[in-house]
């Protein structure tokens, strides 16, 4: 994803999409920043700013944003349609959007609270050393039918298929590695290279991930850091200044 958007004509918005966790987040940002009354959103203006902000998105990441853009345009058109003479039944086409925005704003508030709480917890360490209990039976094992079925399905999914020829070595899957890395960085702020590989990687997986990391780093989408020589390679989401 590219970082900085071209300013919209009426107002110089510098919107960095990396900062937003989705279209609702971006929309709320536009509304709150301009101190717009959320129950009376000037849809035409907001839709234009929204489209301006997402113009430079790569297509595959933009799907969620485009869906929202389409919704904004639909609401805009509905508002332009002539109302029936008796408009007591008329429902503001913006109502559903307002509800979603408020609901999302609540989620954002709770998420912030969760983040602070988790930070509190991560600053208080539990006991690190746990003595082995002497002469006790090993811990009971727990699993259920769901676990068992899931395991069967995983095995079946991972089973090698019968092949006639095995001439061509497995090709590199840089695209898959890129996707996995992006997904990981969607949840975690940084990952270790080894972690990005997942369990039991093949040589092709390692090379694919390496190429993906180097490529993403080259275009400024991820940052790389190694805290010590031969230490683990840490991949992080690119910050704005790294991307620039």
């Amino acid at each position: 994803m590219t970082a900085t958007m071209a300013p919209t004509p009426d107002r110089a918005f510098m919107v960095e999409l990396e900062e937003f966790s989705g279209p609702l987040d971006l929309l709320l940002h536009l509304i709150r920043e301009q101190e717009i009354d959320i129950t009376d959103i000037p849809i035409a203006k907001i839709a234009e700013q929204f489209l301006g902000a997402i113009a430079a998105l790569g297509l595959n990441q933009a799907a969620d944003y485009l869906e929202m853009a389409a919704q904004l345009l639909r609401i805009k058109i509905q508002l332009l349609l002539p109302r029936p003479f008796d408009d007591s039944d008329w429902e503001d086409p913006r109502a559903e959007l307002v509800r979603r925005l408020l609901e999302y704003e609540q989620v954002r508030e709770v998420a912030r609270w969760l983040g602070e709480q988790a930070e509190w917890r991560s600053d208080h360490f539990p006991r690190g050393f746990l003595p082995d209990p002497p002469d006790l039976p090993p811990a009971p094992i727990v699993f259920n039918l769901d676990d068992l079925i899931k395991a069967v399905n995983d095995v079946v999914d991972a089973m090698p298929r019968a092949v006639i020829h095995r001439v061509v070595p497995r090709p590199l899957d840089v695209e898959g590695a890129t996707r996995r890395l992006r997904e990981l960085l969607e949840t975690l702020e940084r990952v270790e290279f080894r972690e990005a590989l997942g369990g039991a990687p093949t040589v092709a997986d390692v090379i694919s991930m390496l190429i993906a990391v180097l490529e993403l780093s080259r275009v400024g989408q991820v940052g790389l850091a190694q805290s010590s020589p031969f230490g683990p390679l840490e991949i992080s989401r690119a910050t704005a200044d790294q991307a620039a």
Binding site: S21, V110, A111, R127, T187
Partner: protein, 183 residues
Amino acid sequence: MQQLTRLLEAALFSASHPLSLAELAVLDPLASEDDWRAALAELRDVYDNGGHGVELAEVADGFQVLTRREFADAIAQAQIVIRPRKLSVAAMETLAIVAYRQPVSRGEIEEVRGVQADGVLRLLQERALIDVTGRGEGLGRPLLYGTTPAFLEMLGLKELTELPRAEELSVALRPPERVTPDL
């Protein structure tokens, strides 16, 4: 310290998880719940007023001894403890929805956040913060997600009711029938 408080301290130091009053009861069948509460109070007092580096915390499932905040940075920098990774905003938002709406389907989460959720859900599940808790009624019987004890532990909470309630949030949600359900 009283003998029961000493046993309490030894037990809390040996346990791999927070100890509930029920688990403590097994340690000494002669001690009542009040005795244990008194011991907990005494231990908390010793840690707080004796200038200790640890404190007694009431967390998910019970009581636990934890290091004090002020030493976290030094200990993490010396690599004695690896701090858990911070979760992204997207992950926290998804967790928030799962926590308040559970059991909740992927579709509902995507509807609230306005973005696809499969990648985030998978990673939250890998980190054991959420889990599949059942299947919904609708089309295709979608998987339903809920939070795990590890989620509470990550937050140092005892139970879900300790999450902020809808009316405590600064954002009011209208219409009222769609307000976050009471937990």
